[in-house]
Each structure stands twice: as structure tokens, then as C-alpha cells.
């Protein structure tokens, strides 16, 4: 019976919260965003960064530091998960191999996933997508084989190396600007011709670093969780 009171209280507060939130949103007209900054960015982005994809221009240019932060969070989460699971993955029975279809498909898909991931990473400044999306595909390329045959060793060492150096490279690219007494993460290289692969200055370099880092991190993280689960 105790549980019902709790649920009732929850529902009551949630109803209140919902009504209040709707009341507040009433005061904010929909579809007429003030766009103080948004409009300015849309106008200035091609000139400032050379990227076609304005969201990319924001992610890597205007708000590059956010992206560094988000990469760091992934890294911290992976490191913390690794530490938490550290003792768990050792020992314990390994799960059995998956069936033939998944097993074969995993290895068959591997090169395609690799290429697709690389493409998406490298075209992040031109089309939707970018380092995170591409990195996720790269991670899947490496993780699917682990899923197919849990006994196959996942090379955590390499993943860690890639992860560490890619992350450091992101910051290093940012710090290079300080040599010319510019601010952190100021783009360098020419902006190039809009729409070309080699354009938008150093932004693709950052995306490459992100792609590698995210790919190795996600792959390592998932391998570790699945290993821990298998060991449990």
C-alpha cells in the first residue's frame, strides 16, 4: 500500500510540473526564435570557417570548446567505466560464439563499415554527419566482430593508444594557435573553396581526431561492458 502513496505523490507533482512547464512555454512563442546569435552565425559562418555545414561550423569553430568537453566526457566515462569494470572482466566463463550468419557477416561487413566511417568523418564539414557519427560507425566495425565471437581478443592496448593520442592531438591543434598569440582553437590553414574536401582550414583535422577518438573509445567501452557481462 505504501507504494501507491508514493506513486500518487509522484503523479501529482508530475502533473503540476507539466502544467507549470506548459504555462511557461506559453510565454515563449513557437517558431519565432529570437536567433540573436543564430542569425549572426548563419551570416558569418561561411566567411569565418569555410564550412558548408553550419552545424559543423558551430561544433568545431564557434563552439569547439564544447566539442572538446564532450570528447572529454566520453573519455572520462570510458575511463571510469573501465575502472569500475576493471576487476570484473577477468575470469568467468566466456560466452559462446554467435551463430554462423552473424559470424560471417561481421567479418564481411568490417571493411565496408571502415570505409563508410572514414567517409563520414572526413566529410563532416560538408554534409550532415561528422566525427561522432563516423566514429560510432568505426566503433561498430570493430565491435561487431567481438559480438560475433566473444572469445576473439579485443586489442584494448591499441584502442587506448589511439584514444589517448587522438585526444591529445585535438588539444595540440588548438594550442598551435597560441604560438601566433591567437586564442585557443583558432582555425589555421586556408579556408579553401567552399564545398571541396580540402576546405574549412583545420576543422577536418579536428574531426579526424574526434572520429578516431570516439571510434576507439566506444569500441573499447562496449567491449569492456560485454566482457564484464560475460564474466558476470
Amino acid at each position: 500500500m505504501k507504494g501507491y502513496g508514493h506513486t500518487a505523490a509522484t503523479l501529482l507533482f508530475l502533473t503540476g510540473l507539466g502544467i507549470l512547464l506548459i504555462a511557461i512555454l506559453q510565454a515563449l512563442p513557437f517558431g519565432l526564435a529570437p536567433m540573436q546569435v543564430g542569425q549572426a552565425i548563419v551570416a558569418a559562418a561561411p566567411g569565418d570557417t569555410g564550412a558548408d555545414n553550419i552545424v559543423t561550423a558551430i561544433l568545431l569553430g564557434y563552439r569547439g570548446l564544447d566539442t572538446l568537453g564532450e570528447v572529454t566526457i566520453l573519455f572520462v566515462a570510458a575511463a571510469a567505466a573501465g575502472m569500475v569494470l576493471g576487476g570484473a572482466s577477468r575470469g568467468g566463463a566466456q560466452a559462446e560464439n554467435a551463430g554462423f550468419i552473424l559470424h560471417s557477416a561481421a567479418y564481411l561487413l568490417f571493411p565496408f563499415l571502415l570505409v563508410l566511417g572514414a567517409y563520414i568523418v572526413l566529410h563532416g564539414h560538408l554534409t550532415p554527419g561528422g566525427g561522432f557519427q563516423g566514429g560510432a560507425i568505426l566503433a561498430a566495425a570493430f565491435f561487431v566482430p567481438v559480438l560475433a565471437s566473444p572469445a576473439s581478443p579485443f586489442n584494448h592496448r591499441t584502442a587506448m593508444l589511439v584514444e589517448g593520442f587522438a585526444g591529445a592531438a585535438f588539444i595540440m591543434i588548438g594550442l598551435v594557435s597560441l604560438v601566433g598569440s591567437d586564442a585557443f582553437l583558432t582555425p589555421f590553414f586556408g579556408k579553401g573553396e567552399a564545398g571541396a574536401l580540402f576546405s574549412a582550414g583545420s576543422l577536418p583535422l579536428l574531426y579526424l581526431a574526434i572520429g578516431l577518438k570516439v571510434g576507439s573509445e566506444l569500441a573499447g567501452l562496449m567491449a569492456r561492458v560485454s566482457g564484464a557481462e560475460a564474466g558476470a
Binding site: H6, T10, F13, L14, G16, L17, L20, I24
Partner: protein, 642 residues
Amino acid sequence: MSLLLRRRFFWEEIDLMSLLDILLLVAALLASGLFVLGRGSFAGWLATVVYGLMLAVLAIAGLALDSGVAFIPSAMSFEILGRNLGWRLDGLGWFFALLTVGAAFFASWYGSGEWGRKQKRMGLQHALLALNVLAMLLLLSSGDLLSLFIGWELVSWAAFAIMTQGGGPAVAAAYRYMIYALAGAMAVFAAIMLVQNVTGGLGFADLQTAISAMSTAQVWVLFILFAAGFGVKMALMPFHLWQAPAYSETPGASSAFLNAVSARMGLFALILVLVKLTGLEALGSLAIPFTFMSAKSALMWVAAITMVVPTFIALMQTDARMLLTWHGIGQGGYMLLGVLVGTSLGTAGGLMHVFNYATYQAALFLAVTAVIHRAGTSDLDELGGLITRMPWTYVTLLMGIIGLAGLPPMNGFVSKWMIYKSLLDGGQPLLLIMAFAATLGTILSVYKLIHNIFLGQLRREHQHLKEAPVSMVLPMLILAGIGFVTGFMPGLALNITDIAQRAIGGDMLPHHLGGVTLATGSLNMLWVVGVLIGAIGAGALIFYLLGNRRYEVHQFDNYAGGHFLSADIRYHFSHEFYPGLARVIGPWYRGSIVRAEQGIGILVNVAGDLWQAVFRVAYTPLYMLLVVVLGLVFTGSWGIVP
């Protein structure tokens, strides 16, 4: 010759430092020195000598103040957070400083001999005593409200440290004291910040400005905060519960010191803030709505109740130390009452009572400690007949209780007489009756004290007891002697209180060596004591010369008739003394204040458990929702209604 004249000797350089600086420096050096080498057996004697030197310095300072110097400045001052902290000793502070150092002198002397060697960690006690003296001197010489508060806190915590030295129940009593003192200190803290808020400063002058600038409600708040905060320390009712156990559990010598002066720090602060700075007229004009009372008369009634109730509680005690400390609370009421009367006679009486009380209360406590030292207990039910074993202790105790009861020829009579007289002249008959009632209770209870310890039948286990050693008997006899001399010649003490009274302001009390001369009636103790001693001498003469026929009666000689006596039947009734009186006042004994204290404790416990339970139940996200909903309503209503 000229060469010799131009040479400057090192003591000529001393004028760079004022007497106050020397005093504080010596006190600080002594305290820190004792912490380092307190274990040595010479530490106590060293401290005693240093206290003696400090008394000499204070005497010089007293001469300076008597000659019209307003105050003795100190070179020590700080500027912190835009506030100036300074120290200076005026007549009022000097008076209390003299008592402090004097009490420390006797306590230290007492503790340096045999008694101290039996204590577990006497070195630490000496050091803490010195620390107390230093803290009190800092408090007494404070030059502004902030340094007053700092000194106040130092005094509180130094006293706390020395109270814990008894171990066991003493720690519990000290803990209770600490909570009261902390609450009081926070009230004072709030009060001085209130003053600062109004005037932007924390000097003594700012308080005066603040009171004239504040609204009546604010002045009331200020008055209550100050009175309650400082009143805690001098155990004004209803904040008195901590004092008796805390002081009585403190080890003997230190306890004598605390009893003599520690609680008086509260009185000092009250006199400074309410009488000297605020002024009694201002207090008198602060009327309580719908009554005939003012803040001043309310405080007088609090003092009167503090005078009466603890005295009768003392009557019910079965432990000598508890009995005395309860009286200590009651005597504080006399002092405050005298000062609050406001006439020159009343103020002088109140201040002189501070002095007198310090002499006899210290003597009494040292005597009781001597009894404990020899007999091992201060339980009034387990003593008796010690007069033959410890005669000098008996003499001290006798002189002490005469002073405490306020009877001639001791000094307690003089100050109490002055207080009664001032009440009578001031048209306060009801308060006078209360003072008499309190004195009646005092007489009854001190008789219980001396009777149960020294009179009656000596217990078998005490047959072999010896008198306390000279190192203990001498200081307490000297203290009792001072009590007698200042009772015989109250002019000596009045010369000292004069300096304090001049610092408070107001009229001076005309006095001479033997007492005071007033238009409405005079007192000359030289005559009183002369007549008294003459009468006693005549009585003794008659008793011994004419009636000197005696024969020995064995203790178990069956003279009482009717039944056989044995060793287990006591000749004197120490258990359940005053049974009739106890039946009358008994129902009032465990009063509502104790219950209120317990109630607050229970309230805090329950509230604490509630809060813990709120958090222990793992519904935090629910609380989060709750706060968000309530907060949205709250901020929304603020936002919509501008």
C-alpha cells in the same frame, strides 16, 4: 656626573610600554611558558610569584587611575576588515582585573603545594589557569565591542577548558556549560552586529549612538540579546542551570578561581554595556507595554529572582560544593540588583559585594577542597565532627559562611547592608523583602554546611585525619582574613570600588575607613565590630570564668535516656536537613526550567531524526520534483506580480 645623568637606564625605556601592555605580555608569557614547562614542580610557585608581580603592576595602575587618569592605553591594536581593534583598561576593568589576578594568586598558591602534587595533571591546570587570567584581562581591557566579543569568547572557552580537567562528570557539566555559553555568545554576536548595522562602527561610542538612533523595537531586541547573552555567563535565571554542576566539578583550586571571578565577567559586561554605555535612565525609559514595568525594573526582578530561587535550591543540596556554587548564583543577583538601583550607594554596594564575594567564596571553596583532600568526599551526609581534626579549616569555613550569610563582622554584611539600604532609599520594598528572604535562606543553608561537616559526631573512618598542610591552610586563612579586615574597615574596599564607580560615571559615595556616612543613616563598622567583639568577649568571660565547671562525657554515655547508643546512630542529623522546610518548598524544587531545558533537547533530537529520515528514504528525485514545482509557483508568483 653629567655623563651619569644622561645615561638612560633600561627601566626608563619601559614607558614605551604602558602598564597594560606589561600586564598582558606577562600574562601571555606566563600562559605559554606554563604550557611548555608546566610539568615541573616549580611551575605553580613560579606562577604564584608572577601573579604577585601582576598584582603589584595593577596596584600601580590603580594609583594612576585613582589620580584621575581616565584609562590606561595599550599599544596593541589591529585593523581587520576595516574595523579597529583596541584595548585599554579603565577603572571598571581594573577593579575586576584586580580580583581576577588576586583570585589566581591564591588559587595558584594553593595548587602549588601538597594538593597539586596529588592531582593528575596539575601542570596543565596551572597553564589553563594562566590562560584564563590572560583571557579575562583581554576581556576586561577591551576597547571596543569587537574586542569585547573576542575577549568574551576567549574567556568562555578558557573556562570550558579548565572545567573539563575534572574528567568524567566534569566533562558532561562542562559540555552543558559550553552549549549555554555558545548560545549566549551568539546572542551577543548578533547584538554587536546589530549595532554595527545601525552606526557602521563597533566602538563603544557607536553603541550609544545606535541606541539613540534605533526604534524602540530595535532597542528592545538589542537589550534582550545583550542581557541574555551576558546573563548566561553570570547565570541569571533562567539561564542558570549549567553553573552549579560545572563549577563544582572543576578541580578544587581552579574551582575556587572560577567561583570567585569567572561568573563575574558576565556582570562586568552587563555593567559595561547596560549601565555605563546605555545608561540606566535609558533602560528605565524603555517601558514594557501595558504594564508599569520598564526594562530596568524587569531586569531588577530577574536579579531578585536569581537571588532567591537558587538560594533555596542550595538549601536542598547534599554536596558541599554544589551548595556553595548554587549560592554563587544567588549572590550574583545581589550584585546586579545593587548596581541596577543606580544610586551611588547601590552601585558601591553591588561592586563591593563583588569584591567581598570573591574573598569569602574563594576561602570557602579552598576550605571545602581541603576537606575533600583529607576526607575524600564533600558529601554532606558522610561528614561530621571534623572540627577537632581540622580546626584551621573550620575557622576559615566559619568566617566564610559568616561573610556569605551577610552577618557582622565580616565584609559580606557591609555590602549587603548597602544594598538593603539603597533598596530602602530607592523605594523598592518588595525587592527588599526578597533580599531578606534570600538572606534567610542563605543563613539556613550555610548552617547546614558547617554543621554537617564540622559539628556533631566524628565518623570512625575520619578518626585519623590531620589538618591540611600549611600550603593549603595559609592561603585560605589569608583570604578569610581579608574578608574580616575589609569587614572591619570597609573603607579599604570602598577605596577600590571607588575607582570602578568613577569609571561607570554617576555620583561618588562618601565614605571613610569604617564605613559610609549618609543623610538617611550611617554605618561605621569600627563601632559595630568593636561592640560585637566586646559583647562576645564579655560572654566568653562569663561563660569560662563563671561557668567553667565541666566533666567529660563518653560518646556512648547513655545520657539521652531511654535507649542504648551505638556507633551507627548519629548524634547529628545530617541526612534530610530541614525536613519541614523541604516539604514546603520541595514541590517547587525541580522546576519548569529544567523541564524546558529537557524539552529543547528533545525537540532538537526529534527534529534531527526527522531530517535524517527525510534524507534516508531514497525518494530524492521526488523531493527534486517537489522543490521544482514549489519553486516554480514561488518564482512564478514573484515574476507575474512585479
